[in-house]
């Protein structure tokens, strides 16, 4: 049965109690911090990989890093950054902010939410542990067959295949959680067209994840079957088809980049309107544009495959569809500009990043339109022009928005404001560093430098460009270090951030910083778009509650999500090493007979069954335990 639970003024907990709290949490706010931490750790790994890549390319015919290692570096850099940095950081903000912005106490499926995190983390661990095994994926983040297949592929690709399947499941269930949360758990009065734009973009992003991830999962399963079980999906000699992999990969891969950028668009919309003290311009068109981008995102995947020989008609169709996406994107850009125009603009660190985002993303977008011209693509394909394009949209777009989100929502998540001065230093080192690194790469590509090459010959006119690019990357690293210094310095400060430090417009700024366990003491009534601003404009100091004070039901913490993820991690190893020639007879037996693999699966399904059989009554927080302020009877 449910029991009362003391929330406030808890005595200082020991290390193990704190660890247990974090390992078993189903609280979306804590899960957000876990995603932030996980994403940041992998960002450091991916960032070091990037610096090593740029270091090797600093000089022609440089021999700092051998070719095989270089291939591993570019593969891991891309895979880690997309799947284990950008996605989790996006999920971090979705977890931290979305329930608050819709006036909800929790997400729809707290258990599933936690499971999503741990699957992501163990998947990322599995991918990166390949470094320790010295068997690293080296077929590019796109893992095209037959290079990644059983005939030509290295053992390391197995880590890629397994790691991404595990984290992919995590992303999928996380998305389902957010879709249902948005549909069913909005506060009274919050219709769909009164939701903040970050909620809309998160919602559409979740739909994209729902539809895109099954395709890559199938692709990875097929590749796994080819590599481990002798299947023939991609073996041309047995009637397989290598282009099929590309199709499956990019049917996922293109929506994936919209999965990354749409939440970034949402963050920018929030930041820009808050720091202009002005309503977001053209809200309805923003919503419409988001939906359109999401839909069109599924219709353009083969623009990654113009040179495979699909034929003129297919190329033309995909070229036109790709260009079409520029239209709703352009609508968004103009709306941000019109929001800023005539507003009382404050250039806090968050808004600096947002303002830096807008022209940079436009630059990335227009090179995208250039790439969409199918005949021209034959020149750009596999050159540094492509590398420049996608770094402009991913780093200049998503990473900038993530920095903006950090500075904007840090007080809400941690109860402390990041140092503004250090924030500005971060911007003014990272942003110029970024342009220095990647702007020149457009020209390197146009001058013929191919991508994914571990070195280049002297005398081709590429030396200066590469040197400049590498120097830029060091500057970006400085920016990141300054940001990390900021984070640690802020952590040392006492928590005391105000509830609404930015004079915000949305519901998350109506509750204390950091947010209490139950989010809202009383769920608020929403009377319009920018719900908090509506109340503030009428002189109110707080939201009108939609319900009387009463006991609040909370879900119980559980270790099962962590156990389930570990189980799949173990099973993955069991399958990967099944045919390895171990010296030790017992170990060889364990793997050859799939004992380890089956043990992992049994543990996984066992946890699922345990979860099904034992219903969670949760626990209640009672009104007497809630802080005294603002209680309405």
């Amino acid at each position: 049965m449910a029991h009362a639970h003391t929330v406030s003024a808890a005595p200082r907990k020991g290390f193990w109690a704190v660890l247990k709290d974090w390992l078993t949490t189903v609280d979306h706010k804590k899960i957000a911090i876990l995603y932030l931490l996980g994403g940041t750790i992998f960002f450091a790994v991916g960032g070091i990989e990037a610096l090593l890549i740029r270091y090797q390319l600093m000089f022609p015919e440089f021999d700092a890093i051998p070719a095989q290692t270089f291939n591993e570096l570019i593969t891991m850099h891309g895979t880690t950054m997309i799947f284990f940095v950008a996605m989790p950081l996006v999920f971090a903000f979705m977890n931290a902010v979305l329930p608050l912005q819709i006036g909800a106490r929790d997400v729809a499926f707290p258990f599933v939410n936690a499971l999503g995190f741990w699957l992501f983390f163990l998947g990322g661990l599995l991918l990166n542990i390949s470094w320790l095994f010295q068997s690293v994926p080296d077929a590019g983040w796109t893992a095209y067959v037959p290079l990644s297949g059983p005939d030509y592929g290295s053992f390391g690709v197995n880590f890629y295949v397994m790691g991404l399947q595990i984290s992919g499941i995590g992303s999928l269930i996380g998305a389902i959680n957010f879709i249902v949360t948005v549909v069913t758990m909005r506060a009274p009065g919050m219709t769909f067209m009164r939701m903040p734009l970050f909620v809309w973009t998160s919602f559409i992003t979740s739909a994209l994840i729902l539809f895109a991830f099954p395709a890559i999962t199938v692709g990875l399963v097929l590749l796994m079957f080819d590599r481990l079980f002798g299947a023939n999906f991609f073996d041309v000699t047995q009637g397989g088809n290598v282009v099929l992999w590309q199709h499956l990969f990019w049917i996922f891969g293109h929506p994936e980049v919209y999965i990354l950028i749409l939440p970034a668009f949402g963050i920018i919309s929030e930041v820009v309107s808050t720091f202009s003290s002005k309503r977001l311009f053209g809200y309805s068109s923003m919503v419409f544009a988001t939906v359109l981008i999401g839909f069109l995102g599924f219709m353009v995947w083969a623009h990654h495959m113009f040179t495979t020989g699909m034929g003129g008609i297919a190329n033309a169709l995909f070229a036109v569809a790709t260009m079409l996406i520029a239209i709703p994107t352009g609508i968004k850009v103009f709306n941000w500009i019109f929001t800023l125009w005539g507003g009382k603009i404050r250039f806090t660190a968050a808004n600096l990043f947002a303002a830096g985002f807008i022209p940079t993303f436009v630059m990335g977008g227009v090179t995208g339109v250039m790439l969409a011209v199918a005949p021209a693509n034959f020149q750009f394909h596999d050159s540094y022009f492509v590398v420049a394009h996608f770094h402009y949209v991913i780093v200049g777009g998503i990473v900038m928005a993530l920095f903006a989100g950090c500075f904007y929502w840090w007080p809400k998540m941690f109860g402390r404001l990041l140092d503004e001065k250090l924030g500005k230093w971060t911007f003014w080192t990272f942003y110029p560093g970024f342009h220095l690194t990647f702007f020149i790469q457009h020209f390197l590509g146009l001058q013929g430098m191919p991508r994914r090459v571990f070195t280049y010959l002297d005398g081709q006119g590429w030396n200066t460009g590469n040197l400049v690019s590498t120097i830029g990357s060091f500057l970006m690293a400085v920016g990141v270090i300054i940001f990390l210094v900021n984070v640690f310095k802020t952590a040392a400060k006492p928590a005391g951030a105000p509830q609404d430090p930015w004079d915000g417009r949305t519901l998350e700024w109506t509750i204390p910083s950091p947010v209490p366990e139950y989010n809202f003491k009383q769920l608020p009534v929403v009377r319009g778009l920018d719900a908090w601003w509506v109340e503030k404009s009428e002189g109110r100091k707080e939201m009108t509650p939609a319900e009387p004070l009463g006991p609040i039901h909370m879900p119980s913490p559980t270790i099962l999500p962590l156990l389930m993820s570990i189980a799949l991690f173990i099973a993955a190893f069991g399958f990967m090493y099944a045919n390895q020639p171990f010296d030790n007879g017992f170990i060889r037996f364990l793997f050859e007979k799939y004992v380890i693999a089956i043990a992992g699966l049994v543990m996984f399904f066992g946890c699922m069954i345990a979860r099904s059989l034992k219903d969670d009554p949760g626990y209640h927080i009672h009104p007497e335990e809630l802080e005294g302020e603002g209680v309405h009877q």
């Binding site: 549909v183 069913t184 909005r186 739909a207 282009v243 099929l244 199709h247």
Partner: protein, 109 residues
């Protein structure tokens, strides 16, 4: 009201008084499914008397209709409070359709 799922159970019962909540609709769906399946099998059994393009199109249409009947009736997709379900399942079908087009048109090597 935050959510529109299912509405109020009590008023639902009142409003649905004139609609059969018995097995009738479901048994009809079962019968339709059997008939559609039978047609599909017979079309293939008598393939030598029909043109291939006709049979293939016929089979696809039959399959879609059967899927529709099962989704609408047995999975309650036609019922009130299933707006999101329809939207998302349609989305899934659209993406599936794209995959099928891909496989049929652009995988010819």
């Amino acid at each position: 009201m935050t959510n529109e799922q299912g509405g109020h159970a009590a008023t639902d019962v009142v409003r649905r008084k004139h609609v059969h909540e018995g097995p009738r609709n479901h048994l009809i769906s079962y019968a339709i499914s059997l008939v559609l399946t039978a047609f599909a099998f017979f079309a293939v059994i008598y393939a030598d008397q029909l043109e291939t393009w006709f049979i293939v199109s016929f089979l696809i249409v039959l399959a879609f209709f059967q899927a529709l009947v099962q989704a609408l009736f047995w999975m309650h997709m036609k019922d009130k409070g299933h707006v999101q379900q329809r939207i998302f399942l349609t989305g899934g079908v659209i993406v599936t359709f794209t995959c099928v087009v891909m496989a049929l048109l652009w995988c010819w090597w």
